[in-house]
């Protein structure tokens, strides 16, 4: 049975489309399956200050990389099924303890199969940020797990701020 006429305007180029969590999970899986990384804009404040709202993230495949302490990973939350990008702060047998740098509580025990990939790059205002993904990530993870990281950072900034002003 014949249906409509052929529509010659085939495609929309470059129009922004807003992508929900479920769609982003699909795109991450599809891209990583092709041995490529996915670059997209972050939304939210749970990783402040290391990742801010509208920073551009690159998610790469873990491959043989270890899901180690301090690694910022993208995972599917087992209860909500939503995509989250937070930091690994510990491990319990086959589960990972993950938490946002600006969160007060753990996301829970996350099984490895829920972890899609890791954040290999963060960009802000077209500049690549290094801090938070390098070796300092171990200290960040330790402080984040046992204390409120954001509170520590605020307190530190409050302490050193007068000296920064004096010398600037």
């Amino acid at each position: 049975m014949k249906s409509e006429e052929l529509d010659s305007n085939f495609y929309i180029l470059g129009e922004p489309i807003s992508i929900n969590s479920e769609a982003l999970i699909e795109l991450i899986k599809g891209t990583l399956a092709k041995k490529a990384s996915l670059r997209f804009k972050a939304a939210g404040f749970s990783m402040y200050p290391f990742i801010k709202d509208k920073d551009v993230l690159m998610i790469s495949s873990l491959d043989s990389l270890v899901v180690g302490l301090g690694r910022v990973v993208s995972f599917i939350h087992p209860q909500t099924q939503r995509l989250i990008v937070h930091r690994v702060v510990g491990r319990k047998k086959d589960f990972y303890l993950i938490k946002g740098d600006n969160s007060f509580s753990l996301d829970g025990s996350i099984p490895k199969e829920n972890i899609l990939g890791y954040v290999s790059r963060v960009e802000r205002n077209n500049k690549v940020l290094r801090f938070g993904l390098g070796k300092e990530r171990f200290i960040i993870a330790f402080l984040n797990r046992y204390f409120s990281l954001f509170a520590i950072l605020c307190l530190t900034w409050k302490t050193i701020r007068p000296f920064v002003r004096r010398f600037s």
């Binding site: 014949k2 052929l6 085939f10 495609y11 795109l27 092709k34 490529a36 996915l38 670059r39």
Partner: protein, 103 residues
């Protein structure tokens, strides 16, 4: 390197794209230098293009695809061929489609 489009040839989606149905739209994300970039151009196909894309499976020649489209759409054959070749040309240019060699 792609040559001229030949209606007797077979084409298939490139390995360097991620194509998914997302929230009711069919989107294609090119992978360039190992990166799929949602901050760059992404392509959305309308229903017609989506139908054509689904038929470019690496097994059927464009001639076969044209025949199938003639059965499904109420347009004359010349128009169908023109639109089919137009889309294939655009997809080849953007390296979203590749010729299946040796088929």
């Amino acid at each position: 390197m792609e040559g001229k489009i030949d209606i007797n040839k077979i084409y298939a989606p490139s390995e360097n794209v991620v194509a998914r149905e997302i929230q009711g739209e069919f989107v294609i994300i090119p992978i360039t230098s190992g990166i799929g970039d949602l901050e760059d151009e992404i392509f959305s196909l309308n229903d017609t293009a989506r139908t054509i894309w689904s038929k470019l499976d690496g097994k059927k020649s464009l001639k076969d695809v044209k025949s199938e489209l003639s059965l499904e759409f109420d347009s004359n054959e010349k128009e169908i061929e023109k639109d089919l070749l137009g889309l294939v040309e655009e997809l080849l240019k953007r390296r979203m489609l590749v010729e299946v060699r040796g088929a």
